[in-house]
């Protein structure tokens, strides 16, 4: 329970509550078992992280099934460490961006560009850094891995939080100001709860994103550094190297089990608890149910034991870190510092120019214009792939999504499955694709491409399902009454109806596909390695070769492509959808 330091599940005003005997009930037993088990696993998993790198080399990854639970635990812990850091980052950086006008001017575009930088891109630099920070120790490699996971999770969470903070309802803001809540109180009472639903949803999405890059972030190969951290990702990498089908199947099975477990034990309880943060004026029809949440609600002893923590939470709530005196309307506060704005703009511009020059200077020492041209043409090739794949995925998933979305009972069951499929690492399919290409002699430039969209096409499906499911009932009835069918139905009714949702999905899918090109354009199975011509392969090869300059160039080109298309294509389409095709 991250968002509020106290949990107001129990009816606190209920006088009968104080007379309830403090005897544990059956729910306490279950809750204690779950809690105890979780703590034991965390302790066990983290204690292994502190060994030395030499020890790690002595005990290489083994494909024995017996090791899999241990590996699964380690991977899960890394995922959660990544999520935890992402949350801290989100709370600090996104809040800062939203509160400070000038900081926001830098942070928001910076995050926009950073989210287009592929995971491997970060890894190249951070591995060296962390290994030097903890020489000879496994924890250095663990940090690099967790950092890679963090970079695949954090951006959408931070953006969601930032957007919530900038769209706080005016009247709630005025209540906080008229009662003079301190900045600290305001954050926990208004801002964090208001942002919670969006943040939780994005955190779940981020977990899927983390899984997709699990191989890349655990089996780290940068230049001469070759580290395989114990975990499902390394297990999968080894299984692919050794052409071991049954080990791949075991890894996938382990993944399914873990994803199911943390969904049931963590995300669903949080979703059920977070229902109350939704700003809607009536009780919603469909509630999220979670048996874990129900158990926690029914415990007695745990509630009593958590009372001291609630007390600490309440005391924390009364802290006044910043003085709330004289909070004037921010609209007025902004106007008096025009000169400051110009000075600030000048500083930022100089910093950007300087940074650009440093990068250029660094690159030109070893690279020529020829390299820029090569990486750019690689980028164009990948662009073509992304565009064609998004088009194909749309043709497939839009009708399917509409079909599912119009059947609410079905939509409920499909949603979790699609979420799992989004977490499915592309590496798992390598064997099948590589064997198929080798056997049939097909062109890898074409047939490796589908791997790029493997994880991201589901965003289109999610969003189209959501759009079709929220299609207004009265419009559906009108369609039935006027017997609108076939092409007219698609063109005039359904496609415009889901358009805003589709845009959101396609935008996410496009960004994700660019990112995935790094693991998708180079596929290996045993000793066979296939490669497609494209920017993803360019960066992946440069990373393996430890050629830092080409990695930087590749990243710059990729960030350029992604940001450029976001600006000239997706943003305008999104704005158009917001303006024209909305139901209210």
């Amino acid at each position: 329970m991250v968002f509020l330091p106290h949990n107001s599940i129990e009816p606190r005003a209920n006088p009968a509550f104080s007379r309830v005997p403090i005897l544990p009930n059956i729910y306490d037993l279950v809750a204690f078992t779950l809690l105890g088990g979780a703590i034991a696993l965390v302790v066990h998993g983290t204690s292994d992280m502190s060994g030395s790198l030499a020890l790690l080399e002595k005990q290489p990854i083994s494909l024995g099934i017996g090791h899999l639970p241990e590996y699964a635990l380690r991977t899960t812990l890394r995922m959660f460490a990544g999520i935890l850091i992402s949350l801290v980052f989100t709370f600090v950086v996104a809040t800062f961006a939203a509160k400070n006008h000038r900081a926001g001017q830098i942070i928001v575009p910076a995050m926009d560009i950073l989210q287009s930088v592929p995971v491997l891109g970060f890894l190249t630099f951070t591995v060296t850094f962390f290994l030097r920070l903890f020489p000879g120790q496994e924890i250095g490699a663990e940090c690099a891995s967790i950092f890679a996971i963090f970079t695949s999770q954090v951006w959408n969470m931070a953006f969601s939080f930032y957007q919530s903070l900038t769209s706080i309802p005016t009247d709630l803001d005025e209540v906080c100001r008229s009662f003079k809540l301190s900045g600290w109180q305001r954050f926990w009472r208004l801002e964090a709860p208001f942002a919670a639903p969006g943040l939780i949803w994005n955190t779940m999405m981020s977990m899927s994103g983390g899984w997709f890059f699990v191989v890349a972030s655990e089996a780290i190969t940068v230049g001469n550094t070759d580290i395989r951290l114990p975990g499902i990702g390394s297990y999968l990498a080894l299984a692919i190297d050794e052409k071991n089908f049954s080990a791949i199947a075991a890894a996938v099975l382990a993944m399914v089990v873990i994803i199911l477990l943390y969904n049931q034990l963590l995300f669903r309880p949080i979703l059920a608890w977070a229902e109350k943060f939704k700003v809607e004026q009536s009780t919603s029809k469909e509630k999220v149910n979670s048996w874990v949440y129900d158990i926690i609600r029914h415990t007695r002893l745990i509630k009593c034991l958590s009372a001291p923590f609630l007390w600490i939470g309440q005391q924390l709530m009364m802290l006044r870190f910043s003085s709330a005196e004289n909070q004037v309307n921010p609209a007025n506060a902004d106007t008096y510092s025009k000169i400051g704005d110009y000075a600030w703009g000048f500083c930022v511009l100089s910093a950007i120019l300087w940074g650009g020059w440093v990068t250029f200077d660094y690159l030109r020492q070893a690279l020529s214009w020829q390299d820029l041209w090569i990486s750019f043409s690689c980028g164009l090739m990948t662009l073509l792939r992304v565009a064609v794949l998004i088009l194909l995925a749309s043709l497939l998933w839009v009708p399917v999504g509409i079909w599912i979305g119009l059947r609410p009972s079905l939509a409920q069951h499909i949603q979790p499955i699609a979420q799992f499929l989004a977490a499915f690492p592309a590496n798992v399919l390598f064997p099948f694709v590589v064997i198929a290409i080798v056997v049939t002699g097909a062109n890898p430039n074409i047939w490796l491409s589908p791997l790029m969209i493997l994880g991201t096409q589901w965003y289109i499906l999610f969003n189209v399902i959501a759009g079709a499911a929220s299609f207004p009932t009265d419009l559906k009835e009108a369609v039935a009454v006027y017997q609108i069918r076939s092409w007219t139905w698609w063109r005039r009714v359904m496609l415009p109806g889901i358009f805003p949702y589709y845009i959101t999905g396609a935008l996410t899918a496009t960004g994700g596909s660019w990112n995935a090109s790094i693991v998708a354009e180079v596929a290996s199975w045993g000793n066979t390695q296939l490669e497609a011509y494209g920017l993803g392969a360019y960066i992946a090869n440069a990373t393996t070769a430890g050629d830092v300059r080409r990695v930087v160039l590749g990243i710059v080109v990729m960030a350029f492509f992604v940001t450029f298309f976001n600006r000239i294509l997706w943003r305008p389409l999104y704005a158009f959808a917001e303006r024209r095709i909305r139901f209210n």
Binding site: A13, L172, R177, K180, S182, K276
Partner: protein, 439 residues
């Protein structure tokens, strides 16, 4: 309450020469409040009455310390207000409750901000909840409550911090008639029995009856820019009766003030138009409402002339609905409004008797003469060979005289009238005015 005592006691709040304006980018300032002077004394309930856009909510926020007026001063107990004060609490139109906090936690929030210890806070909150009639709902979440109950939570939250001044921003306007009646009566009972620790109440409303039922003192606001056009003392004893002739008289007086031609709002045709005439702020009114009102006045029992209070009551229209429609009709010379009456002109009579095509013709004729903006757009469309013009261009042009929002509303109003009259057409997709009506 004895009036002679009230006069002697010094004002709790004093507003002097307050102006509020916003920067409008290129073209300078948009004034929302113009030179407001008022006082609020202990023991009084004061109402700020006016329609939306008259700046009354802005004045309330200035008194609450939520905004700093551009010019002039607001003092509370003789001290200049800068920022919010713990002696002032606000009740909001749409309740502004935190959906993730229970009723009890919502009520406690103001105390928590002051660092009151949990036990003391609980006790005070429970007694406020008790006072306001919310017993048994302590652990409910706002979304489980009805609108009336939610506003009670808003009231309890305001009262629990023991403010000297209670500010209410349209507290009943989101509630249905019956609910607001009960809540108003309960509030008045608490007030008259002295059970609330409050010294004065300031209430913003656009409902004339609400104001007359509750207030000792009503300030009537005019629009564009917001200013006080009149002030009424209500000396009827509580509880007040809507059917009381004295009550009806005050209602009549307020309507008469609001339709008075000496009102400086530039919407009235007796006043010269501002600038080149295109800069009249037009309210968002649908053509159906215009035609509907004309027909209602023409029909029995009004037969061409209606008294505004009963008309508003029978149509269930609040002043925010009735006045924009009436004034737009007045601008087009279909009706005359004066001294709280609305009267059909001969032209209005002709409109009622005409068929649809003639109505459109009449409408377009009046539009071309009396709505300079419409004539201006039409003129430009006629001049251009393509007969097309970007609507944005006119919006920008209007923004030299009014706020962006008012400019958008005005363009929408003109578009809606011109479409009905087939005076010119508008294509939303390309945001263009055109002459060709799709057939």
């Amino acid at each position: 309450m004895d009036n002679s005592v009230l006069v002697k006691n010094p004002p709790l709040v004093s507003v002097q020469d307050v102006c509020q304006s916003y920067d409008n980018g290129t073209s300078g300032q948009i004034t929302v409040l113009d030179n407001i002077n008022m006082e609020l004394r202990r023991g009084e309930i004061v109402g700020l009455l006016g329609r939306s856009g008259s700046g009354k909510s802005t004045l309330l926020r200035a008194i609450a310390g939520l905004i700093q007026p551009t010019k002039g001063t607001v003092t509370f107990e003789g001290k200049l207000i800068s920022g919010t004060s713990s002696d002032v609490a606000v009740v909001f139109q749409n309740f502004a409750l935190f959906p993730w906090l229970t009723v009890l936690e919502n009520v406690e929030i103001g105390l928590e901000a002051r660092g009151v210890k949990p036990a003391a806070r609980r006790q005070q909150a429970l007694s406020a909840i008790d006072l306001i009639g919310l017993d048994g709902y302590e652990s409910a979440y706002p979304k489980e409550l009805s609108g009336g109950m939610r506003q009670r939570v808003g009231l309890a939250r305001a009262l629990v911090v023991h403010p000297k001044l209670l500010l209410m921003d349209e507290p009943f306007s989101a509630l249905d008639v019956l609910t607001s009646e009960t809540l108003r009566n309960d509030l008045l009972d608490l007030w008259s029995e002295g059970r609330m620790p409050i010294e004065a109440i300031l209430m913003v409303t656009h409902n004339i009856e609400d104001a007359v039922l509750m207030c000792d003192h009503i300030l009537i606001f005019g629009s564009n820019p917001g200013h006080i056009i009149g002030e009424i003392h209500v000396q009827l004893p509580q509880p007040r009766n809507r059917l009381d002739p004295a009550f009806r008289e005050i209602l009549e007086e307020i309507y008469s003030l609001m339709t008075s031609k000496t009102d400086s709002t530039n919407r009235l045709p007796s006043e010269p138009f501002v600038g080149n005439g295109i800069a009249i702020v037009l309210p968002k009114v649908s053509v159906n409402e215009l035609a509907g009102l004309i027909e209602t006045i023409a029909a029995p029992p009004y037969n061409g002339k209606a008294d505004l209070p009963p008309l508003a009551a029978s149509l269930r229209l609040e002043i925010d609905d009735l006045f924009p429609v009436g004034e737009t009709l007045q601008l087009l010379r279909f009706v005359e409004m004066e001294k709280g009456d609305i009267r059909l002109t001969p032209l209005g009579q002709r409109f009622v008797e005409s068929e649809l095509d003639d109505r459109k013709h009449l409408f377009s004729q009046q539009l071309s003469v009396y709505v300079p903006l419409a004539a201006h757009i039409r003129c430009i469309l006629d001049e251009r060979p393509s007969h097309k013009a970007s609507a944005q261009r006119f919006r920008d042009e209007l923004q030299d005289y009014m706020s962006e929002e008012a400019a958008n509303d005005t363009i929408k109003a003109v578009t809606s009238m011109a479409r009905y009259a087939e005076y010119f057409a508008y294509d939303e997709e390309s945001d263009l005015f055109t002459l060709d009506n799709p057939s």
